[in-house]
């Protein structure tokens, strides 16, 4: 009987905590923005007392979870097409910008020593260019002394937003890549070896002489990997830096984009890094739990307002202000509760 009593008591305690827990926002999805979401959540909790619980299970998982309504918001590195959003009753908005950096392992080659253009990069990843002393690479790097060494292509073996940005870029700059491979979170790779996660690619590149791979910008920077400069759409050579990603984000036409379906690869601008991409939040237009959704929107409004510096510290690029204004306008007009009342007004 005592045991039963304890059980009942425990149940009561659990039940009484439910209303309090409902204020906690739950989200799931992409692994790439996890560090910044976690940091924002931590500061937000300190400031407001409301928590945000984010599970970095991958973009694919995030999309599945928000579609099955088990979380308040989903997160994806790949924007959903407008028709998919309408079908699932979702809207999306970008939070921060990041991107991919090609990294190499060549004796005597340091960051910035080597530059490539999109077409050459695509040919390397197609397996058409097999050796580092290929004339196409030599033409772009007249002063570099490149060895007669086999190129080992390293790509992601798991599905990833990083791969989506990478293959989307290669599809834009090389017709062969577009027709043979295409762009997705995972593709049928024509050449090379696969490794799991940014860290897997990084380790394989670091351990294999003559290797070229691609990792998340923040990952390349924090691990001081040997990065390759890219020649962008305007024909200028750029190094991967926060400014170059910012330039790509600023030069994109967010306003005109349908449902913020913008992929930041191959953007115009002399200083734009060509392999950039935003990460997105997905939320229902008529959430099952309007209170939780309101909290989520409040959280992201706070993050846009106060989170820029934290993002920069972690090597993410914050969204330009005019894009934020447009996003909040969209929230006010699109996201409503059951009675049709907007959950978010610009004042809160």
């Amino acid at each position: 009987m005592n045991f039963l009593k304890t059980l009942v008591a425990a149940g009561l305690v659990a039940a009484s905590t439910v209303p309090v827990r409902a204020l906690d926002i739950s989200g799931a999805g992409a692994t790439f923005p996890y560090p910044i979401y976690a940091k924002w959540a931590d500061s937000y909790k300190k400031e407001t007392g409301n928590g945000m619980n984010y599970q970095s299970i991958g973009s694919g998982g995030g999309i599945k979870q928000i579609q099955s309504k088990t979380v308040t918001f989903g997160a994806s590195d790949m924007p959903l097409k407008p028709e998919e959003l309408t079908k699932s009753g979702l809207v999306q908005f970008p939070t921060v910008v990041g991107g991919d950096v090609p990294v190499v392992n060549l004796d005597g080659v340091k960051s910035g020593d080597l530059k490539l253009d999109g077409d050459t990069l695509a040919k390397i990843f197609l397996g058409d260019i097999k050796s580092w002393d290929d004339p196409a690479i030599a033409k772009l790097n007249p002063s570099a002394k490149l060895p007669k060494q086999a190129i080992v292509v390293v790509h992601r073996s798991d599905g990833s937003g990083t791969t989506f940005i990478w293959t989307d870029y290669l599809s834009k700059v090389n017709a062969d890549w577009k027709s043979k491979v295409g762009a997705n979170t995972s593709v049928e790779w024509p050449a090379g070896i696969g490794a799991k996660g940014n860290e897997g690619v990084a380790n394989n590149v670091a351990n294999t002489k003559g290797a070229i791979g691609y990792v998340e910008y923040a990952y390349a920077k924090q691990n001081k990997m040997t990065a390759v400069n890219m020649i962008n759409k305007d024909g200028k050579s750029v190094a991967p830096s926060a400014e170059a990603f910012q330039a790509a984000a600023a030069n994109a036409d967010w306003e005109k984009a349908d449902h913020y379906y913008v992929i930041l690869t191959d953007q115009p601008g002399a200083t734009s890094w060509p392999i950039a991409g935003a990460t997105f939040i997905l939320i229902h237009t008529q959430p099952q739990d309007p209170a939780a959704a309101t909290e989520a929107l409040k959280f992201f409004a706070w993050a846009y307002k106060k989170g820029d510096k934290m993002a920069e510290e972690l090597d993410y690029v914050p969204m330009p202000d005019k894009v934020v204004t447009s996003i909040q306008k969209m929230w006010a007009s699109e996201i409503k509760d059951g009675t049709g009342k907007a959950l978010f007004t610009a004042s809160n």
């Binding site: 299970i57 991958g58 973009s59 694919g60 998982g61 999309i63 599945k64 086999a150 080992v152 073996s157 798991d158 599905g159 990833s160 491979v181 295409g182 762009a183 997705n184 979170t185 995972s186 593709v187 049928e188 790779w189 090379g192 070896i193 696969g194 490794a195 799991k196 897997g200 380790n203 394989n204 351990n207 294999t208 002489k209 003559g210």
Partner: protein, 331 residues
């Protein structure tokens, strides 16, 4: 005891009979309960296995309906166009396990032979414990070691001379064609061989130990060499146990995931070169399941799991059949 019992019958024979019936009844109930518990445990295994098969089937259905038999014979694995074929992972699974067994079986048997027959007493324990410790190392450690230590070593010191040496020999030049990646089918097979070695060695050692000394002594007395004794006395006497160990090792090699994922290169392609990257069924599932978007993609991965299940089942069936044939011939 007998005296006590005799005295009791004196008191009342009737009481004793009921008492005995009561005690026996109690024992019988205990027996029944024990019987039922053991039976339930055994049946539980069947239920779990049945559940796994059924859920694999249901999960794999969309892919099997879409691709039909072609799923087994197509090499393409393209998430963009949603065309999936399992041939490359099936090939990778079988070829890595085959090469691993090719290396591990002779090695394991020789180690077991040395340990039981030829090894000085003081060295037996250290080697025996070392072998068992190999079995206790988690597979992720093998994977990390393979990626950081073994693969770079192979890439710089082993693969270039192999490629150069076989360059002009017809068949070997295609089997060992460059460039040296470090990781690939061969590296994965070598890691697998190390991982399954303890299974073969410890089981063989235990069954070799069980060979009656008188048989071996008689053979030695006839002037047989160590090889002859092992080949014609020890091995025939223990082959059922040895085959059991080999099959256990093969089962482990077929299903091994983490270590292989690290060093095989994860490329959905069938290449004639053993130095080229490939993939296995379990490595593909481990890599792609978390980010698989779309029903067909997920379903294809589950279908891969079903295929691995079937392969393992076939291997077990073959092992049973071999054992049966040996038993029939001996008995």
């Amino acid at each position: 005891m007998a005296d006590v019992a005799w005295q009791e019958t004196d008191v009342s024979a009737q009481d004793v009979v009921t008492e005995r019936a009561r005690v026996l009844n109690k024992l019988r109930i205990g027996d029944i309960v024990f019987h039922q518990i053991t039976k339930a445990s055994a049946l539980f295994v069947l239920v779990v296995l049945g559940g796994v098969i059924v859920s694999l089937f249901i999960g794999a259905m969309p892919a099997l309906q879409e691709f039909g038999f072609g799923f087994l014979t197509a090499q393409s694995w393209n998430p963009v166009t949603e065309k999936f074929g399992a041939l490359a992972p099936i090939y990778g699974t079988i070829i890595t396990s085959f090469i691993a067994m090719l290396i591990a079986v002779p090695f394991g048997l020789m180690i077991a032979m040395f340990l039981t027959e030829l090894c000085p007493m003081w060295l037996r324990r250290p080697i025996g414990i070392a072998i068992e410790l190999l079995a206790g190392i988690p597979s992720i450690i093998y994977g990390i070691w393979g990626l950081f230590v073994f693969a770079p070593f192979l890439q710089t010191h082993v693969q270039p001379p192999i490629i150069a040496a076989f360059e002009n020999i017809p068949v070997l030049s295609t089997l060992f064609a460059g460039p040296p990646f470090g990781i690939g089918i061969l590296t994965a097979s070598l890691i697998l061989a190390i991982m399954v070695l303890p299974f073969i060695t410890s089981i063989s050692r235990d069954v070799f130990d069980a060979v009656p000394p008188v048989l071996k002594e008689a053979a030695y007395g006839l002037g047989w060499t160590q090889w002859e004794v092992w080949r014609y006395v020890v091995l025939p006497y223990t082959r059922i146990g040895v085959i059991g160990g080999v099959m256990l090792a093969l089962g482990r090699a077929l299903g091994e995931t983490m270590a292989v994922t690290f060093v095989i290169g994860n490329a959905h392609k069938i290449t004639t070169s053993l130095l080229a990257p490939g993939t296995t069924i379990s490595a593909t599932i481990a890599n792609e399941f978390t980010e698989a978007v779309g029903d067909l993609y997920t379903s294809s991965l589950i279908a891969l799991g079903l295929i691995l299940f079937v392969i393992t089942f076939i291997v077990l069936a073959i092992a049973r059949y071999l054992l049966l044939r040996i038993e029939r011939r001996v008995g």
